[in-house]
């Protein structure tokens, strides 16, 4: 993304195309333009915050003021395999069957 001297951030068409590719979204050329505009406006709003003095203010990690939401390490029921696999597009030998994987992640 292009960062301008006045801290305004603009999202280019190629930014949108890149993110769409990563998210496996097929966008039309019109949509690419539309989202570039919308995302620029949203980021523009966020840059307003940069004008404030935020030294010493921690980033918000969670909207609620809660920490340490934990559960005990106790085994609970799992789902029935046949039921789960019946909902999958394809299954074989108790496993989910997926198309050929092209490369390693």
């Amino acid at each position: 993304m292009a960062k301008q001297s006045n801290e305004q951030v603009s999202i280019t068409r190629s930014d949108v195309e890149h993110v769409a590719m990563l998210a496996r979204l097929a966008l039309t050329p019109d949509e690419v333009g539309e989202f570039a505009e919308q995302l620029t406006a949203i980021l523009g709003h966020a840059t307003d915050i940069s004008s404030l003095d935020l030294d010493g203010v921690p980033t918000t990690a969670h909207p609620l003021p809660v920490t340490n939401v934990l559960r005990e390490d106790v085994i609970g029921p799992s789902l029935d395999r046949d039921e789960v696999l019946a909902a999958a597009p394809s299954a074989e030998e108790g496993r989910f069957r997926v198309p050929r994987i092209m490369g390693e992640a």
């Binding site: 990690a61 969670h62 340490n68 395999r81 994987i101």
Partner: protein
């Protein structure tokens, strides 16, 4: 080699950083109550959370946090007041949610170190994350690129991992191996993982680069994966260093890539990489609250940590007078070192060193062969102390003790009972042994003569022969120390 060639030869140093993933030995997964169990039937430990079904919500396992804090304590980490989870976004069939929940810029453990052979190796971070599922490739010889399709088992998806990332602080494969074995010993001792490289509960990836000696800038690093033992880690690093050195010397450029270690061929292969896959678009996980370790949580983790391997080794070497190597072998196996400590505490006679010798020799082999843990053995630590005492007192010989040990492990009873039931006893009757020696000397006049006239080498040989004859004549039951003394007297 001409002097020009010597000058042209640039000396390189190796720079190694290690990323170690360990599966935590919890009962359940990281964010759901499915069993964390190796070897279950495929897809039997799955639920809406670990399958990433819409509307499901993760809840953090408290034992994972406790284990992470133990790791923080044992590896000298700074544990910040707050740590948070991030989503690491990518598409791959083994991750049903299309993102991995991991930690990014606020890990639970930041900046620690471990001492390896007297040197501190810096550790950049350690963070909690979830494991992926397991794919099996069908057709094409099981290779991913040639496969017809793949089958996925999500039992492992969501199993808790700690990823421990060292600084690029190591300079040789030997040091890297030392780092991993020390790390392994510590993780075993603090009870957070069974750290079995062969079974994948500990996975080590190595970042390897070379640079001219005397320079400080890091060279282009290559990541090597798929080493399933500490030995293969060393081999893979050595191979990669040689490959990079040859490439650099012949003017080839090293490319940043991931390479796969092939154990049978002893080489690394480049892997085809997915385009743009390094753009993971990390963002904070909105469904999980930050982890803020309290004083109580930290104190509980600290209290759960036993004497660490380095300190334990030092103590054993000093107090029990055993070799550093033997202490290392013993301490690498916490259950066995607990066993040895209990046994030494029960010793009436005989030495702690003998206890260690049995533990790191016959007993370690027995445990490996039978796949059994010391606490299930028919020979208790106290019984081992008794056995060591029988040898120390001269009641049975060392070779007889082996037979007694086998009998005890087979459940035949206490050492003294096994020894008497099998008729094993050492003859320490000086009169009887003196008669044996006299008989042997009389029956072998030639050997005695050669002993008396021979050089040192010949003397040694003849003495050994006569001792063997004497032992034979005592049916293997003569007290060797006594026989030795009587033989010396007879030959004088």
């Amino acid at each position: 080699m001409s002097s020009n060639e010597v000058q042209a030869e640039i000396q390189y140093e190796t720079v190694i950083g290690l990323e170690v993933h360990v599966e935590l030995a919890t009962k359940t997964k990281l964010f759901c109550a499915c069993a964390n169990e190796f070897g279950s039937e495929p897809n039997t430990n799955i639920c809406p959370v670990c399958l990433g079904l819409p509307g499901s919500l993760p809840v953090l396992n408290e034992r994972v946090v406790d284990f992470a804090l133990r790791i923080g304590e044992a590896l000298n980490f700074t544990v910040p007041q707050r740590s948070i989870f991030h989503r690491k976004n990518y598409f791959y069939p083994d991750m049903p949610k299309d993102f991995q929940t991991s930690q990014y810029d606020e890990p639970i453990c930041a900046e620690g170190w471990i001492e390896v052979d007297g040197e501190r190796i810096g550790i950049e971070r350690a963070h909690m994350e979830e494991d992926t599922g397991k794919s099996t490739h069908v057709g094409g010889g099981g290779r991913i690129h040639d496969a017809d399709h793949s089958l996925v088992d999500y039992n492992r998806a969501g199993v808790p991992l700690m990823e421990i990332v060292s600084h690029p602080a190591m300079r040789s494969s030997e040091q890297a191996r030392g780092y991993v074995s020390e790390l392994r010993a510590v993780l075993l001792a603090i009870g957070v993982s069974d750290v079995k490289m062969e079974e994948g509960s500990m996975r080590v990836d190595a970042n390897v680069s070379i640079r001219p000696v005397g320079t400080t800038q890091l060279g282009t690093k290559v990541e090597i994966k798929n080493m399933n033992s500490i030995r293969s880690l060393g081999r893979a690093i050595d191979y990669e260093v040689e490959r990079q050195t040859i490439a650099t010397n012949t003017g080839e450029r090293i490319v940043q890539e991931t390479r796969h270690w092939d154990e049978s061929e002893g080489i690394t292969h480049g892997m085809r990489s997915k385009e743009g896959s390094s753009d993971y678009r990390f963002f904070p996980e909105p469904d999980l609250a930050p982890v803020a370790p309290t004083d109580e949580m930290r104190a509980a983790a600290r209290a759960a940590i036993p004497e660490l391997p380095a300190a334990l080794r030092e103590r054993i070497v000093a107090e029990w007078q055993v070799a550093e190597h033997d202490a290392r072998v013993l301490v690498a196996n916490p259950a066995l070192s607990d066993y040895a400590q209990e046994s030494v505490a029960a010793l009436a006679s005989g030495s702690a060193r003998d206890v260690v010798n049995w533990c790191t020799g016959e007993l370690l082999a027995y445990g490996n062969e039978t796949g059994s843990e010391p606490n299930s053995w028919a020979l208790s630590p106290i019984a081992l102390a008794e056995l060591v005492g029988l040898v120390g007192d001269g009641a049975i010989s060392r070779s007889q003790a082996k037979e007694v040990l086998a009998g005890c492990l087979a459940g035949e009873g206490a050492p003294s009972d096994v020894a008497s039931a099998r008729g094993l006893a050492q003859v320490s009757d000086e009169g009887a042994l003196a008669a044996i020696i006299a008989g042997v000397l009389e029956a072998n006049p030639d050997a005695v003569a050669e002993y008396r006239t021979g050089d040192e080498k010949a003397q040694k040989k003849k003495r050994g022969f006569l001792m063997g004859e004497a032992m034979k004549a005592s049916k293997g039951q003569g007290n060797p120390a006594l026989l030795n003394r009587l033989l010396d007297a007879g030959l004088a």
